[in-house]
């Protein structure tokens, strides 16, 4: 009987602990994604301002340079532009954001910052494009810092919290 109790205790603590750890990792993901996004925007900025690559191709190349789920934003916007249904860059960008929203851990605030790009993308000369893309990177960096601070506090709570909750349940059951 004691043996069963031991196994049950171990199971409860480890499963809740694992749940807590995966939750903690989820918080870390948002920071990672924000960083990936910032790098991707930097790449896009170079493509646009130095190489003068047409937007559709610049978006495709950016998508190839970054990882999932961030690549979804660039891939989807490029796909929409390529379809050639008289869509503007802004509209294509917004539908890219929708598909990013589904796949990522980003929060609405992060997406709102990205949405501001819709008004500027591709519709001005390269010095203007540079200005707004640099600004976008800075804003993403601020979000990233905030996310990192939040992450440190929450990650601890989640990773310990899972185990503690497991122990509490075991104590109550015993």
């Amino acid at each position: 009987m004691a043996c069963f109790k031991m196994i049950g205790t171990a199971l409860i603590i480890s499963s809740l602990g694992a749940w807590g750890l995966s939750g903690a990792r989820g918080i870390g993901k948002r920071t990672e994604e924000l960083r990936d996004l910032r790098f991707a925007v930097a790449f896009l900025e170079k493509e646009i301002t130095y190489m003068h690559t047409p937007l559709t191709r610049a978006l495709e190349r950016t998508a190839r340079m970054c990882q999932q789920p961030v690549s979804a934003l660039f891939l989807e916007s490029a796909r929409r532009l390529k379809a050639g249904k008289g869509l503007t860059a802004g509209e294509a960008w917004m539908s890219g954001l929708e598909s990013l929203n589904i796949k990522s851990n980003l929060q609405s605030g992060d997406l709102e910052i990205l949405a501001t790009a819709a008004h500027h993308l591709g519709v001005s000369d390269s010095s203007d494009q540079k200005k707004f893309l640099v600004l976008l990177q800075e804003e993403l960096k601020v979000q990233e810092e905030k996310a990192r601070q939040e992450q440190a506090a929450k990650q601890k709570l989640w990773s310990y919290g899972g185990f503690i909750m497991g122990i509490v349940i075991v104590l109550l059951l015993i």
Binding site: I48, H52, G86, V123
Partner: protein, 318 residues
């Protein structure tokens, strides 16, 4: 150009750059009564205007083509924005140089003129922003329109005589020059094909898009696109060993000097100049000097008396 061919050009090259609302109207309208469309003009909050060689028309959203432009569809800011997005492939930053010149040449060699708020830097135009007007000029290729003048251009010794086309604007100088380039470059049974260089300052002769001629200028033709005439003529002689140089609208002193230089190098020049008559031309000191130097052996006067491209008179100076 036949009506069917004309429609093809419109549906493949012009309609795709129009905003969806306007594209639908253009596709639905009946164009039988309208001649070859030369120009489509969009001005913010003003009626849409379409021009053929003689008249202007509006496009009523319900009734289609109309002669009363007040009934025409009113272009709004969004239409302009969408057209510019489509023309520039959503990448206006890649067309800075073109915008500074005031137009973008699109696939097919058609020219899209732009107006709006101009951003100045010192005395130069830096850019145009807040676009308010778009004028789409449809490039027209009329094959063999120059066959009538070719026998005056070739001399009996199978050389090319330097030729100056003289006419007021919109008489078909550019179209004629383009066809002369094509015919000289292609050659024929009697004449071998020649190396031709086109110095195309305004991207009108060859209609280059991304540097590649969109209009047929012949198999032995090199194009210096959006290059100033004087500089272009000199580097052409240096680098491309042309037998004929073709360029549009001489006007400045540098151009005339470059023409002399090329003639001294044994290259023939075929060019054009704005003027109604030879007398008018001689009233301009620069042109008077050029004529008196006998640089050009042929002067061809064009008018619109029997439609654009009517050849009024050919004057031989040799």
């Amino acid at each position: 150009m036949s009506a069917a061919c004309e429609m093809d050009v419109l549906t493949n090259e012009i309609f795709p750059i129009l905003p969806p609302v306007m594209r639908k109207m253009f596709l639905r309208a009946d164009w039988k009564k309208v001649g070859n469309i030369e120009e489509i003009r969009m001005r913010c909050n003003q009626p849409l205007i379409i021009r053929d060689s003689e008249h202007e028309y509006g496009l009523d959203p319900r009734a289609g083509v109309t002669a009363d432009i007040n009934k025409s569809y009113r272009v709004n800011g969004e239409d302009i924005m969408r057209t510019i997005a489509a023309i520039s492939d959503n990448s206006l930053y890649a067309f800075e140089e073109d915008i500074r010149k005031g137009f973008i040449t699109i696939s097919g060699g058609h020219r899209v003129g732009l107006a709006g708020q101009v951003v100045m830097q010192d005395t130069h135009i830096k850019s145009i922003k807040e676009f308010s007007s778009i004028s789409i000029r449809i490039a027209r290729e009329i094959r063999n329109c120059a066959s009538g003048v070719m026998n005056t251009i070739y001399s009996p010794a199978d050389k090319v005589r330097s030729t100056l086309l003289v006419s007021p604007p919109r008489c078909g100088k550019t179209t004629l020059l383009r066809d002369i380039a094509r015919l000289l470059s292609s050659g024929s049974r009697q004449h071998k094909g020649l190396n031709v260089v086109i110095v195309d300052e305004r991207s009108e002769l060859a209609g280059c898009y991304l540097g590649i001629p969109q209009l047929d200028v012949g198999p032995r033709t090199d194009v210096l696109d959006s290059c100033t005439k004087a500089a272009g003529m000199i580097i052409a002689v240096r680098g491309m060993s042309p037998e004929v140089i073709i360029t549009d609208e001489l006007g400045r002193k540098e151009d005339v000097d470059a023409v002399q230089e090329c003639l001294n190098a044994g290259v023939s020049i075929i060019s054009s100049v704005h003027a109604g008559t030879i007398e008018e031309l001689q009233n301009r000191p620069l042109m008077k000097g050029l004529l008196e130097s006998r640089a050009f052996k042929n002067i061809i006067l064009l008018s619109r008396s029997r439609g654009p491209g009517t050849i009024d008179k050919i004057v031989r100076w040799d």
